[in-house]
């Protein structure tokens, strides 16, 4: 649309006023920022964080390791102590420098002993401390995630429950 001299001035004034009105309205809206370490972040119901693993349930079938597209799951069993109850797991290690958090290891498990957890804020004082995590030994964040009662379990949009089946 062609505007004359005064039309242009009027257009400039009115559009400026409209823009100012828009930003003024935005000024009074709530910020969407979450003050993360102090406030809880939003976690999707399908959040894929650090794995949670139950070594007592595992039957050492290697299906998860075979499903893994990046071969990041290392499973070792004690061949000598093969008992009637089944194979004995000695090491279940996930290399998180490779892991894609794709959840492909979870589906094939026949006994549902590996799940995707919600733990996502790992920190350590040494480089490499959380690169390879052995789920059969020690106490680590994966244990905490598994055992810490998940206070808001069931709340929509916040999956603090360990497993989804």
């Amino acid at each position: 649309m062609r505007r004359g001299y005064f039309g242009k001035i009027w257009h400039g004034v009115t559009t400026t006023a409209r823009g100012l009105w828009l930003t003024a309205r935005h000024f009074f809206t709530r910020p969407t920022t979450i003050q993360y370490p102090e406030e809880e972040t939003y976690l999707s119901p399908y959040e894929r964080g650090l794995h949670e693993f139950e070594p007592e349930v595992c039957i050492v079938c290697y299906l998860c390791a075979k499903a893994c597209p990046v071969d990041c799951i290392l499973i070792e069993e004690d061949k000598a102590r093969k008992s009637k109850a089944g194979k004995v797991l000695t090491k279940y290690e996930i290399d998180y420098s490779k892991c894609l958090f794709c959840e492909l290891c979870v589906d094939p498990c026949p006994v549902d002993c590996i799940h995707m957890g919600v733990q996502h804020d790992l920190s350590a004082l040494e480089r490499g401390a959380h690169v390879k995590i052995d789920f059969t030994s020690g106490e680590g964040p994966w244990r905490t995630a598994l055992t810490s009662a998940h206070p808001d379990a069931g709340v929509q949009g916040r999956n603090y429950g360990g497993s989804r089946s």
Binding site: G12, T16, L20, A24, H26, F28, T29, P31, T32, T33
Partner: protein
Amino acid sequence: LEGVPAVLVYALAIVLVAAGILTFVAVVAGETVWLERRVSGRIQARIGPNRVGWQGLLQFLADGLKLLSKEDSLPATADRPIFLLAPVVVFMGAFAAFAVIPFGQGLVAADMDVGLFVVLSLSSIEVVGVIMAGWASNSKWAVLGAMREVAQMISYEMPLGLSALVIVVLAGTLNLSQIVEQQQGGIWNWYLFRGPFAFAAFFIFFTAALAALKRAPFDIPEAESELVAGFHTEYTGFRFAVFFLAEYAAMILFSLLISALFLGGWSPGFSIDMGGPVTRWIGFGLLFAKTCFLLAVMIWIRWTLPRFRIDKAMYLCYKVLLPLSVACLLGVGVQVLLGHALFDASSGVGRWLMGGR
């Protein structure tokens, strides 16, 4: 203070007043930066700095410390003396003019009869510093920024001066203290509300002041998306901090000036004697509130409007603001003459029409 030479006392007074104003300006400028970042954050649905001090109020100290601890780099091909002098000139231009700003009744460092002229001319010195910085940096971004600043300056200075002249015609004086005195009494006595020409002059002056301050939408010389940082691209550390401080000091200066010219300065908008020691500081508080309001509007505009193209900015200044300010100047002259012809200067309407004459 007997036995002390008068020169020494005088020098000490100057230093004290200068230190007081410098502290005031630096602190307010720092808080303006904080305000700017918080307001821009809220406009963009963010929060903004809220960690250092209560709600981030001490953020400017942290920023200043950071800048002080940075390396003071100097380009190898820079024109060394001019490069080093430029931030000083810029800050001087922004800071010196505070001397003639009336902060309250009698609260003015130098009560000059040419106060308005001094403010406008001293704030133009800042431009010289900008050009020095741009030229001496020997960097294409800085030179482009300086060139744009020159082009912009000659376009905004005219409407800026002419719209200030509207108030001078009304007030009959360039003395800022007297201009403020004449706006005592009711809110309709503020020069903003004395007729359509002064009202229009307010908006022209405000727009031209935005251009003078290199604020968006007139931040063409800095234009961070086009020129890195414009004229201060090559500056780091403390020198950059001085540029930054000068920019915000100039914002405060122009807000104070607009308050004094159009919004009654330290007068509260109703009839009250502002001469007492307590009311004097209340007047200062009122002036400060008006200044903060104008600063907030400047920030609001910055985060609303995108940057003008240089030719559009020139179009606005030359072809819109300049004719309008000339028309306002003529109109206000007619208004004063009519006031003289039709009303007695002592009558309310006559005084309203004629300003301080």
